[in-house]
C-alpha cells in the first residue's frame, strides 16, 4: 500500500474557495466573531465580529466565504486535516475517472475529496463522486454472506469458508453437467454451457483478467459484462 503523508496539503486548500478563505482567515490575523467589550481595540474587534462589516471591508463582498464565518465554524477542523493518511484513488461511477483523495483515520475512511492534481478532473467531483464516502461507509453495506436455500422464504447466514466450499462444488458440478466435447460435425468445443457470468464495469482490469483467465481455463465461455448493455 502506498500512502501519502497528510502534511503535504497546500494543493487541496487551493481547490475549495471555502478552505482557501478559511485558511487565509486563520493566518492573516484579522479577528473573526466574538464580542469583546474592551474600549479601543475591543470595540474594533466587536465591530469586526459583524459579518456585514467584514463583507464591506474585506475581500468577500458577497458573503460566501470568510466574511460569514461564525465562532463555531471557526472552531471546527476539517476531517481532511486530522486524517492519518491519504490514498490516491479514482471515482467508481462514470467513465470520466476523476481523481479522488481518500482520507483515512483509525483505519476508517472519513472523507473522500476530488484530487486537484488530476489533469482532466482538476479536483472536481459530481454529486455521486462527492457522496462516495457513503458508498464505502453506508448503512446498507453488506459485511456478511447471506444465503437463500432452495424454496426458503428468508435469508440465512454462511461463513466465508463454507460459502467458498459450497460455491466451488456447485461450479464444478455445473461445469460437468453442461460440458460439450464437440459439435455434431466433430469440431472441437472443449467447453461448458452450464455456467454464465455477468460483470459490472467497476471491476478492475486485473480482476477482469483473472476472471477471463479462470473461466477460459475451466471451459466456461459465457462470460459477459456491462459493456454489452
Amino acid at each position: 500500500m502506498v500512502v501519502v503523508p497528510v502534511a503535504v496539503r497546500p494543493a487541496e486548500r487551493r481547490v475549495r474557495p471555502h478552505g482557501a478563505a478559511a485558511a487565509r482567515l486563520a493566518h492573516d490575523g484579522r479577528a473573526p466573531g466574538g464580542r469583546v467589550y474592551v474600549r479601543g481595540v475591543g470595540v474594533r474587534t466587536w465591530i469586526e465580529g459583524w459579518p456585514v462589516y467584514r463583507q464591506l471591508t474585506g475581500d468577500d463582498p458577497l458573503g460566501r466565504g470568510a466574511a460569514t464565518q461564525s465562532k463555531r465554524s471557526k472552531s471546527l477542523t476539517p476531517r481532511t486535516v486530522t486524517a492519518d493518511r491519504v490514498a490516491k484513488s479514482v471515482c467508481p461511477y462514470c467513465a470520466v475517472g476523476c481523481g479522488q483523495r481518500v482520507y483515512v483515520k483509525d483505519e476508517r475512511v472519513v472523507q473522500i475529496e476530488g484530487d486537484p492534481d488530476s489533469p482532466h478532473s482538476r479536483g472536481r467531483l459530481c454529486p455521486k463522486g462527492s457522496a462516495s464516502e457513503q458508498l464505502v461507509n453506508g448503512d446498507a453495506r453488506l459485511t456478511r454472506i447471506k444465503y437463500r436455500a432452495p424454496y426458503a422464504t428468508e435469508w440465512s447466514e454462511l461463513d466465508l469458508e463454507t460459502a467458498m466450499e459450497m460455491i466451488t462444488d456447485r461450479v464444478l458440478d455445473a461445469r460437468r453437467r453442461g460440458w460439450q466435447d464437440a459439435d455434431e460435425r466433430g469440431n472441437k468445443l472443449n467447453r461448458t454451457m452450464g455456467i454464465a457470468s455477468l460483470g459490472g464495469a467497476t471491476l478492475d482490469n486485473e480482476e477482469n483478467y483473472l476472471i477471463k483467465k479462470l473461466f477460459t481455463a475451466m471451459g466456461a465461455i459465457q462470460v459477459e459484462n456491462q459493456a454489452r448493455i
Binding site: C91, V136, L142, R148, M164, N190, S197, A201, I211, V223
Partner: protein, 967 residues
Amino acid sequence: MPGLGASFGRGGATGDLQDLSNADVIVIEGSNMAECHPVGFQWVMEAKARGAKVIHVDPRFTRTSALADTYVPIRSGTDIVFLGAIVNRVLTQERDFREYVLAYTNASWIVSEDFQDTEDLDGLFSGFDAEKRSYDTSSWQYEGSEHHGDDEEDTARAQESESGHQLGAGGAAVEHRDIRRDPTLQHPRTVWQILKRHFSRYTPEMVAEVCGVPTDVFDEVAEAWISNSNRERTTALVYSVGWTQRGTGVQYIRTGAILQLLLGNMGRPGGGIMALRGHASIQGSTDIPTLYNLLPGYLPMPHAEKHADLATYVDQIRGQGQKGFWGNAESYVVSLLKAYFGDRATAENDYMFDALPRIDGDHGTYGQVMDMLEGGKIFGYFLLGQNPAVGSANGRAQRLGMANLDWVVVRDLVEIESATFWKDAPEVETGEIVPEECRTEVFLMPAASHVEKEGTFTQTQRMLQWREKAVNPPGDATSELWFFYHLGRRMREKLAGSTDPRDRPLLDVAWDYPVHGEEQEPSSEDVLKEINGYDLTTGELLPGYTAMRPDGTTSGGCWIYSGVYADGVNQAARRKPGREQSLHAHEWGWAWPMNRRMLYNRASADPDGKPWSERKALVWWDEAAGRWTGDDVPDFEVTKPPSYRPPEGATGVEAIAGDDPFIMQSDGKGWLYAPKGVVDGPLPAHYEPAESPFRNTVYTQQQNPAREIYTNHLNEVHPSPPERGSEVFPYVWTTSRMTEHHTAGGMSRFLPYLAELQPALFMEVSPELAAERGLTHMGWAHVVTARAVVEARVMVTDRLAPLRVQDRVVHQIWLPYHWGQGGLTTGDVVNDLVHLTLDPNVHIQEFKAGTCDVRPGRRPRGRAVLELIDEYRVRGGVTMSTGTVAVTAEFLDPDGRSRAEQADDGAVAAGEGHDDEDLDKVVSVEHDIRSRPGQPQQHGAALRVLEESPRSGPRDGRDRHDEGRQG
C-alpha cells in the same frame, strides 16, 4: 465499438477530454454530457469560454442543452437522417477537406461493379438473404477483391460471434494491393461517387419530415460544423450511450465517423470523436474483456469451425497481404498463451491453443437469458457488481430467467434486486414467482469497494489509472481478485490428480499467484505485470508490444496494455500534477497504445509531415532530427519519414506508407465506405427503430433488416407501420440516466445523500401530452407496453417538446431507469418496458426508443397487471411475430412470403412455434415459471388463443394453471 473500429482501426475515444478545449465547434449528440459526465463537461465549457460554439442535439432539453449555444430537439431514433443530410451537403457542395480526404481516406478507391446500394434496392444493400437475415458481402468489396467478401453464412457467423467487436484494436482485413484508385474521384464507382449517390436523398426537407427538425435549425448546425472544419479550424463530435444503445447504433457512429473524415477532423487537436463510456472501466472491460467473443486485446475467441489450429487462427487475424500492426498477431497470441499456461505452453503443443474453449454462435448475455428461461441449459450464474433485474433490457425476462436456475452467486456492496428476486420481484406480486416453489439457491457475497482494493480502471479516454488501497474491506467482504483466485485454487485442489483431459487446462493454467496478509489477497501489481508481459529469457518486463515475439520467449496478458509496466514502473500509478504538465499530461496514468493520448495524430500533419496549420499543430516530421515530434507521442513509427513507400510485396508494419495515418487499418486509411467489419451495411442507412409510430419515408424498408430478434412470449414487439395496430401504442418512450443516480441504482439508491437528491421515479411529459391523456403534474401515471406496465410520478415540462413529424404531432415520454424495489428510494423498473431487439454488430439492445401508451393514475396490482398487458396485446394485435418482418417490400407484396414464414426464418432464438391461422388472432401465454421441487422448470405453458374478451383469458388460464400444479 465497431463503428469506430471499422472506420479508423481502433474502438476507443480518439482523443482526451482536455483536448475538447481546443475545438472551435463541439457537437454533442446522443449524450447528456453535462449531467452524465459532469466533470468531463468542464472541458466543453472551457472551449466555450475560448469562443467555441456548442451544439446539442437530443430529444430532451437537459442541462447540456441549457449550456449549449444551440439546442436541436430531435425525434429519438432519427440521427442518421440528420447527420446524413450534413454529409450530403458536404458532398454536393464539395466542401470537404479535399487534400485530407484524398490522402487519408478510401474516397478514391473503386468498388466492385456488383455492388448495389440502398438507392438501387430501396433500402437494402446487395447480398441480403431474407431467410438468414444477413448479408453476403462479396459485392461490397473493392474491384478486384470480390473473393474477399464473406458469404451470408460467414456474415451470419460473424454476426453471431460478433466479429465486429474485434475491431476494438484494429480494422477489418482487406486485400489492399490490387485496389484500383481514381484520384480525380470522377469514376462512378469510386467510394466518393457512391457516397454522393447514397446520401443524395438525405436532404434538409427529409430532416424536417423525419426528425422533426426545422430546416433553418438544420442549416445552422450544418454551416457551423462545415465552416469550422478546415486547415485552421476543427470540430469535435461527442456521443455516448444515446447512440450505442440502439438497434442500429453502430451505423449512427459510422455516420459521425464519415462526416469527421470528410471534414478532416480526425487525428487533429480539437477534432476527433469523443466516445463517452458510461461506467468507470467499460473501456477496460472490453480491452481486457469479460465478453464471450473476445480474448484480451481484441483477439477473437476461437471459433469451432473457423479456428481448427493456431496457424489458421493467426492467419485469419492478420489476413493476407494486410498492412499494419495486426501483421504481428502471432506474437500477441503466443504471448497471451504463455501468460495463460506458462511453461506448459510450448511450440510443440501449439502453446496449448487446443485447450481453449470454442464458441460457435451467439453466447451473449441476452441469448443466455433466453436459455435460462428455457431451462436445462444454464445451471449457475455469477453476478459481479451487476444488477440485471433492474439494469438489463426486459427485466421480467431477466428475473424469470434467474428464478429458473439452480444457483446464483451475487457479489455486490448492497442487497440488490438481482439477489432478492425470489422474495420481492414484481413477479412475486403477480404470482409468477412463488418463493416456496422457487428452487434457486442464492449466495449474496459482500464485495470490496473501490477504496478497499488496489488496481486499475481504464476510463473513457483509454487511460489506465491506478487506485491505491485505503483500508481493508469490512467483515467478510472480499475483492473479485480474492474471490476468483481462491475459487480457482479450490477447484484445482479438488481436481488434483484428475486424468480427465477436460480438466487439463484448469490444472495447467498458470495460477501460482503469491498471496499476502491475513486475508490471503493476491497482488494486483503482480497481475498487472503479467498483463504487461515479460521477456522470458531475461525475466524483465516488456517495454511495449513491439517487443513481443512469436517464438514463446515473451509473455503478455493483453498486448495493447503492454508498456503499462515499462522500465519496471507502474506507469498507471504516475500522478504528476496536471498543472506541472502540458495539456495532454503524459505523466498522469498511462493510455493505450504506448501512452498515445491522441489517436491517428499522424493526420494532424499533411502528407509531407508539416502541420496543416500553425494553430492546429500537434505532431509533425522533424526533417533535421529524422523523427516525428510534437505535443503527443506519435501514433506512428517514430522514424518512418512521410516519403516512405513500401517495397513491392510488403505486408504488416513494413507496408504502412509514410502517409498512412490509420496504422491499425488493413490499408492504412480512414474508411468512408466499409467493405467489411460492419455486418448491416457498408454505409449507414436510416431505418425506423424496431418499434415506431411512423412509416419509414426514406426507403420502403421499415426496420434494419439485419436486426437481431429474440422470439419469446415475454419479448413481443409492437407492430410498426405498415403492420396494423401501431396506433394502440401511439407515443415514443426514451430512457436515460440522471446526475444523482447511477445505472441500476445499486451504487446510488442506497446512499442517503443521493436518495434525498432524487427521491422518486418520475416521467417527463409535455403539457400537450398531459392535456391529451389527462395527466397532472406531480400526479401518477403508468406507461404500458406489451412487456410491462410501469408507474411513476408525472412531471409536466416543456423540456420534452412535441415534434411535428410527417405532418402530425408526436409526443415523447422520458423516464430515468435507476429504480427498483430496493434501497432508500424505490420505484418500478423502467427497463421492464424494453424489448430485446439487438444491433447485429454488437448485440446491444435498443434502450432509447420504443412505442407505448400512457394512462393517468397508478397501475393495477397483482395479476391485474398481466390482464392489462393482455388487453393491450389484443387491441394492438401483438403476437410473437409482430415487428419481426425482415424485408418490408416482401411483406407488402401480397404474392410474397407471409409474415409467419419470415418470422419463422428470422427468429434467432426459437421460441414457441406459431401457426399461420393464429396470426390473425391474438396469442397469449400463461406466464408460468414456477419451479417444482426436484424438476427443472421448462418455461412457458401452451399457447392460448384469445378470441373473445381478453378479460376471460387470464382467468381461464389461471384455472388451468392451478389444475396443472395440483397434477
